[in-house]
């Protein structure tokens, strides 16, 4: 167990076995972004805005608050891994149709939070959606179209 320096973390990244490298305390966000997966965004660096959201073993985490060392052996899904081949996820489709994305910077995190919600709650109420997205700040939409998108996505699943 090396004490410091570069850590090589083996994980499953969007379904593929991958190696991420960096300082053990480096943010998973930075490791992902420097590996070319720039979909997760940094909006605040303090776990407040949720734009860096990814799924770690199926649960939503802020990758800006996740040290790289904690990704060892984990299965990570980023926004780039949500659509399969050319098929968008229901949440992504609904965001397009109902105006859930405006400037798009919160969208990756918003989509990940919504995907996580639908993975555990088949028929969410608007209140469920509000609670599930409370850690994802959006300055453009006022959230209304995002709620509608997620509720519609749930209906289509």
């Amino acid at each position: 167990m090396p004490d410091a320096g570069v850590l090589r973390v083996t994980c499953t990244l969007n379904g593929r076995r991958s190696v991420l490298e960096g300082h053990p305390m480096a943010r998973l966000l930075d490791a992902l972004r420097s590996s070319g997966l720039t979909g997760a965004k940094e909006g605040c660096g303090e776990g407040e805005c949720g734009a860096c959201g990814v799924l770690l073993d199926g649960t939503l985490v802020n990758s800006c608050l996740t040290p790289l060392a904690h990704a060892e052996g984990a299965s990570i899904t980023t926004i780039e891994g949500v659509a399969t081949d050319q098929m968008l996820h229901e949440v992504q489709e609904a965001f397009l149709e109902y105006g859930g994305a405006q400037c798009g910077i919160c969208t990756p995190g918003m989509v990940m939070a919504a995907v996580e919600l639908l993975s555990r709650t088949a028929e969410p109420t608007e209140e469920d959606v509000r609670v599930a997205l409370a850690g994802n700040l959006c300055r453009c939409t006022g959230y209304m179209r995002i709620f509608e998108s997620v509720l519609e996505a749930a209906k289509r699943r």
């Binding site: 167990m1 053990p24 776990g47 800006c64 609670v131 599930a132």
Partner: protein, 330 residues
């Protein structure tokens, strides 16, 4: 700001034993749980340099276990109750049916902490060790008379949670020692298992609690966090309380608050002003005076001392008023 990471080490031992040995070997090393506080402090440039020991491969620190009968293997229990591993996340707390039944304020407080992503990674032990006076869950632990199992390479020691915070960010924690588990004793179960417990999210207010019983032997509990917004807020005042009233007389009560002192506090003088008293307006006024005498709120960027005092008093009144007329909270 962007921290220079070469001044930090983060090791991930493969077991609790290895982690405790590592902490023993490096007295200045610090435990690292979910990271939802420490990584923020790191980004802010305030994380002390040095060695951090991740606890993530420590199954002994996971799970919500009943202490009926033998307790958890290897740890003799002192009585029935619930043992919550320090690495239990806020999400796991919210999903525990047993906690919702017996210690309902805990789930309410957990829901109030950050957003889903924070709740998925933030841990109850980490929340205690972060020692924020504004933490959402610790006031609940105080009213439930929680105890802590502190673990180190040389063994386990059990201490009451009340008194654990000795001052601002100052804890009764020796070098090499970690918070291992949080014990909620059965004596602090405030509601019979069948009792109705209201949840905070049902009415989208930071208010939760429940009531049971008739005019004799009523038991109630109450939790309210006052932040500026309804999610992702740092508490300006946080209030947790339990109370038992028999024919209008307060038999027992426990009250704790956050964000009104350098640590979360148990409001002992307030409790004393209530215990054994007829719950009427005189008693409530006396309790409020007692409360104001034992809190020490400050002005900061989030609120003012005056607001915190007035709201703390109002929350006490709301709590006690609901005890006078149990039923749906306002």
């Amino acid at each position: 700001m962007i921290p220079l990471l070469d001044k930090y080490q983060l090791v991930v031992p493969r077991s609790l034993r290895e982690a405790l040995d590592d902490l023993a070997k490096h007295p200045s090393a610090r435990p690292f749980a979910g990271g939802t506080d420490l990584m923020v402090v790191l980004e802010a440039g305030h994380l002390p340099e040095g060695r951090y020991v991740s606890l993530q491969n420590c199954p002994e620190l996971l799970g919500i276990q009943a202490l009926d009968g033998g307790g958890i293997p290897g740890h003799r229990s002192l009585g029935e109750g619930v043992s919550i591993g320090a690495l239990t996340t806020y999400t796991e707390i919210q999903r525990s049916a047993r906690l919702a039944r017996e210690y309902p304020l805990l789930g309410v407080a957990a829901r109030e902490t950050g957003g889903v992503a924070t709740q998925n990674r933030g841990t109850i032990g980490g929340n205690i060790a972060n020692a924020s006076p504004a933490a959402d869950t610790p006031p609940v632990l105080l009213v439930y008379d929680a105890e802590l199992e502190l673990m180190s390479a040389s063994g386990i020691r059990r201490v009451p949670y009340h008194g654990f915070h000795r001052g601002y960010k100052n804890m009764d924690l020796a070098p090499g020692e970690i918070i291992g588990r949080v014990i909620l004793p059965s004596r602090s179960v405030w509601l019979p298992p069948s009792a109705f417990a209201r949840s905070a999210s049902a009415d989208r207010r930071s208010l939760g609690g429940g009531w049971s019983g008739g005019t004799s032997d009523q038991r109630g509990s109450y939790y309210r966090k006052v932040g500026t917004r309804r999610a992702q807020a740092i508490a300006k005042v946080c209030f947790a309380g339990t109370i038992r009233v028999d024919n209008g007389v307060v038999q027992d009560t426990r009250i704790a608050l956050g964000s009104v002192a350098p640590t979360v506090i148990r409001a002992l003088a307030t409790e004393e002003a209530l215990r054994g008293q007829q719950l009427d307006s005189n008693t409530i006024a006396a309790a409020e005076r007692a409360l104001l005498s034992e809190i020490a709120p400050i002005d900061d960027i989030r609120s003012t001392a005056r607001y915190r005092s007035r709201v703390a008093g109002n929350l006490l009144r709301e709590f006690l008023s609901s005890a006078l007329s149990p039923g749906p909270l306002p």
